[in-house]
Symmetry: C2
Subunit: 587 residues, 2 copies
């Protein structure tokens, strides 16, 4: 259940002065005494960077990629003034995991909640971070996220009697943030143009894996790398170093903003206790290494109890797709130890589990349930189930991804504006399919017989306040014996993860197996190869919200949908989100 901003009693009060209203309600919800406003001025520009020692133009924030970590306390208001200095390219920034209660126009999703920010313009994102946890931000426009515009958001529990603070169900002494990414040497323009070409040109496996924006391209002496200026002593690609005090317990806040790769993350020699996922407390469990999909965040605890006189690897390895990219590495070092902080550990970096050990990864998914003291019971039933068959399809010579054979395209008039204004023709008004043909007979282990699909930008419109189930059904791709892991991300909500299964979902059988006792709430969840994932959410956040595979190329190729709920309860829209499509010259 979310706060009161969407309620009809609050709406009239807030109609006139959106921003003040949001701030006022935020203060009311979380305690006026402790809530602060944290302002950031960001200049977005292209800069030459060398994250993996190869020089490449990247989209930076104040000259850096990744951007700064936003730190705040639950209930704070974040104000980010985003100046677009990309010269000819627009931008939009999504605050991934922040539900934007009362501020649906600040979700930063181009085509859904706003028009893009033009070069020379400054757009101000103002929103409340209503829940503690580990989140991230990244560009949400075309394939711009892959160009380097990303960073982390850390929201602390509010302290003191005046706030709505809560104790966290675990203790630690200090913390580190770890942002995982994959990296290509080709520009995102080239990647996107390839995907849009006939025949389609796939982006391929990444050249490098980055930890906090730092990696190492192994083939630096190749012709291509030489031509592209590979410099192994460039300061941009010095490995990230995480220093720990012996005996202390550390919280590692880990986020994956990869464009493509599912990763396995390990801290050599240090077991990890998983305590948080996507801002929700997990019933603690211990792992040697952590599977993390694009769009997910985790907190793990480690104790610095190993030999302090040597260093240890932090390692990220590709899983789920056959790896063609070397292990991404960083260094864990002990304060006071005899090893130089930057010294290469004496052992080879951990290689992670077998890339195709799906069962191993499913076990982690199943182990991730709510902490007993923080479990939020899901509604016992839902009034609507949307079953989405995830398939690879062909349209006009291009490979696409589709849900129930509908490949999603973003409109150029944001839904939020189009719906509030009743702009006809801004998007397909026909309801998209709730399920797929031949549900009972579909062979998810076989190549789809008819790969033809259609494109549409039709949204799913939900009854405000209703409980909705979504079952994401994976299947074989266009190539035989192949099914990928898709990390699906929902904007504007957290959902309960009710269950995972192998093979075809049976609506008559599987709902009875749902975990209604202690399901974890998340905003991003994996759909495992050949399997299904069931989730539930309450459509109680007025706005329009994207729901999509977080693999950048997959969403670009149509793997997403949009939900609308209670848009009539949304207050006056800020004119700054308009200016494109049918809102050109509108306000």
């Amino acid at each position: 259940m979310i706060g009161g901003l969407g309620r009809s009693s609050a709406a009239p009060l807030c109609a006139e002065r959106r921003l003040l209203c949001s701030l006022f309600l935020a203060a009311a919800l979380f305690g006026a005494a402790s809530a602060a406003t944290r302002r950031h001025d960001w200049d977005i520009s292209y800069q030459f960077t060398s994250p993996d020692c190869v020089r490449k133009l990247a989209v930076t924030i104040n000259g850096h990629t990744p951007g700064p970590t936003i730190r705040a306390v639950q209930g704070d208001t974040i104000v980010v003034n985003v100046k677009n200095s990309l010269l000819t390219e627009n931008v939009a920034i999504h605050w991934h995991g922040i539900r934007q209660i009362g501020t649906p126009w600040a979700d930063g999703t181009e085509g859904v909640t706003q028009c893009p920010i033009l070069p020379g313009d400054t757009f101000t994102y103002t929103f409340v971070v209503d829940r503690p946890g580990t989140y991230m931000y990244h560009a949400h426009y075309g394939m711009q996220r892959s160009a380097g515009l990303n960073g982390m958001i850390v929201v602390e529990v509010a302290a003191g009697a005046g706030g709505a603070g809560e104790r966290e169900p675990f203790r630690y002494d200090r913390e580190h943030t770890v942002l995982l990414n994959d990296w290509w040497h080709r520009s995102t323009y080239e990647q996107a143009a390839g995907l849009a070409s006939v025949p389609m040109v796939w982006v391929g496996e990444p050249q490098s894996l980055l930890i906090n924006g730092r990696g190492r391209f192994v083939n630096c002496s190749s012709a291509a790398a030489t031509a592209a200026s590979c410099n192994v002593s460039h300061p941009d690609c010095a490995p990230a170093v995480f220093a720990v005090v012996p005996g202390k317990t550390y919280r590692f806040r880990i986020a994956s903003v990869t464009s493509l790769s599912a990763l396995n993350f390990e801290i050599e020699g240090h077991e990890m206790t998983v305590v948080e996922a996507d801002g929700h407390y997990v019933k603690p469990f211990v792992v040697k290494n952590l599977n993390i999909y694009s769009g997910e965040t985790y907190s793990v605890l480690i104790t610095a109890d190993q030999d302090p006189n040597r260093n240890y690897w932090l390692a990220s390895n590709v899983v789920s797709r056959k790896p063609a990219t070397p292990t991404g590495t960083a260094i864990l070092t002990y304060y006071g130890g005899r090893s130089s902080p930057r010294a290469r550990p004496p052992t080879p970096p951990p290689a992670g589990p077998a890339w195709n050990d799906t069962a191993y990864r499913v076990r982690q998914s199943l182990a991730t349930v709510a902490h007993p003291a923080h479990a939020v019971a899901p509604p016992a039933s839902s009034e609507r189930t949307i079953l989405l068959l995830n398939t690879q399809n062909k349209i006009d010579g291009r490979i696409k991804w589709a849900l129930n054979n509908v490949s999603f395209t973003l409109p150029h008039t944001p839904y939020l504006v189009a719906m509030k204004r009743g702009l006809l023709g801004a998007f397909d008004q026909r309801p998209p399919p709730e399920t797929y043909d031949g549900l009972a007979a579909y062979d998810v282990y076989a190549v789809q017989k008819n790969p033809n699909a259609t494109t549409s930008d039709a949204p799913y419109r939900l009854r405000f306040g209703s409980v909705v189930d979504v079952v994401l059904q994976n299947a074989n791709m266009l190539a035989a014996n192949n099914s990928e892991t898709h990390p699906w991300h929902l904007h504007g909500h957290d959902f309960w993860v009710l269950g995972y299964g192998a093979g075809r979902f049976d609506p008559a059988v599987h709902p009875a197996t749902y975990n209604l006792k202690d399901p974890i709430m998340k905003n991003t969840v994996a759909v495992h190869p050949f399997g299904w994932t069931a989730l539930r959410f309450r459509a109680d956040n007025p706005g329009v919200w994207a729901f999509h595979c977080h693999i950048e190329a997959h969403f670009f190729m149509g793997m997403g949908i949009v939900f609308e709920e209670g848009v009539e309860r949304v207050g006056d829209l800020p004119p700054e989100i308009m200016g494109c499509g049918k809102t050109r010259g509108d306000h």
Copy 2:
């Protein structure tokens, strides 16, 4: 003197329905019977192309670079529906040489006459081609022109009694179009980011010279070329072939859209008679080869009177800057000759004149005067002279170009809208300098003593209908003994070229040397190294008009100004040109 659209009598009539009004007046001016409307639908997208055999992402029109030649008859209305499919990048297209009488909002100059066209949006350019001649179009946004969005416009003389047709003062049997360009393998993003970096990174000399979009990178086996996919048998880089019928006279319409290079163009073994420059008839003169600067167009006549059994080179060579780029070539072949049309000519391509033979190029400039039967006498005097010292300067660690030590920056609210609406703060309201300090003592052959400059977006506001002189004074750059050729292009007007001189312009002496008898009218003119060029125009076209060096990087680095005249006479602005800067959410 231009047509009546800007006159106050026409303005009220046209206030309500701009487009119909323009069409009506165009018809009235040029004869309703013959004027046609020519519609084009253009889809602008990135495509992989290999113009010089090296694969590169280019901005294309309907998949091609260069784009289609627009062909029309004097008085026709051109309608171009421009759909932006660049995914995340905006676009704007300038119709170079078309004065946009009555349609100043269709000039396609981002920041001056319109907001850029957003991805997904379609913008319609509607304008009348009021004079016959050879023109071009190209992107006019950031450095986008360099990415491949360019093409030619050919306007024929109106025929028949019903039209305002005029006979051309020369005869020919057939014609060819020749579009000259230079080409880089680095993306325009990389070029622009380099120019905007501290320290500034210069774009360097082009990798290839293109004729009708085709060239040949010579170093195809180098590491860089291999990495970038160099394929000498790619159909995109098959040389352009110009076939001629023996004995016939051909008009070659030549345009240069280069980003940087001054060129010398030659058709091996065939003397050229220059008959047109920038849409104006020239007193014919014969050359072995033709110097052509970026933004210029020429028509030359050749007679196909050589041995038809061999082929001949068309050659373009860099002049004015020390060449580091091989000769650009194409092939002239005779119909019915014994040579294969694509066969390499037996002789080496013409190497052009010495690159630093400034006197040779000045002679051509001086020889280019109006055809006696078509000379338009300039006003005998002007009421205002703006003297612009062209210098290289340093600002905040970057090298810039400046006029009178003011380096131009484009605002993000188009002047045309800001001025019509009185939007305060959209641009610097203080008048920019009319001359430079130390005029009488300035040593144009020496490095400027104080290279510091300021930036400004202040426009020059002209009294409507007034006659204005501009003297462009060249000088030494930041490096000793160095001065470049700058091709200055004026939007919205043709100007009379009154004179050229070496060294420092003396206002007490040189105006007496002006050619007031038969000066050619042009829209682009060279300012030769260490010299000055004087021009005159009548400020009688209501609107806001850019005037800038046509070298893409130079304008990007501040080498331009903006004129306003009679903006109060401009009719209602189309809302489609708004949506950025202070016009976001405006109409």
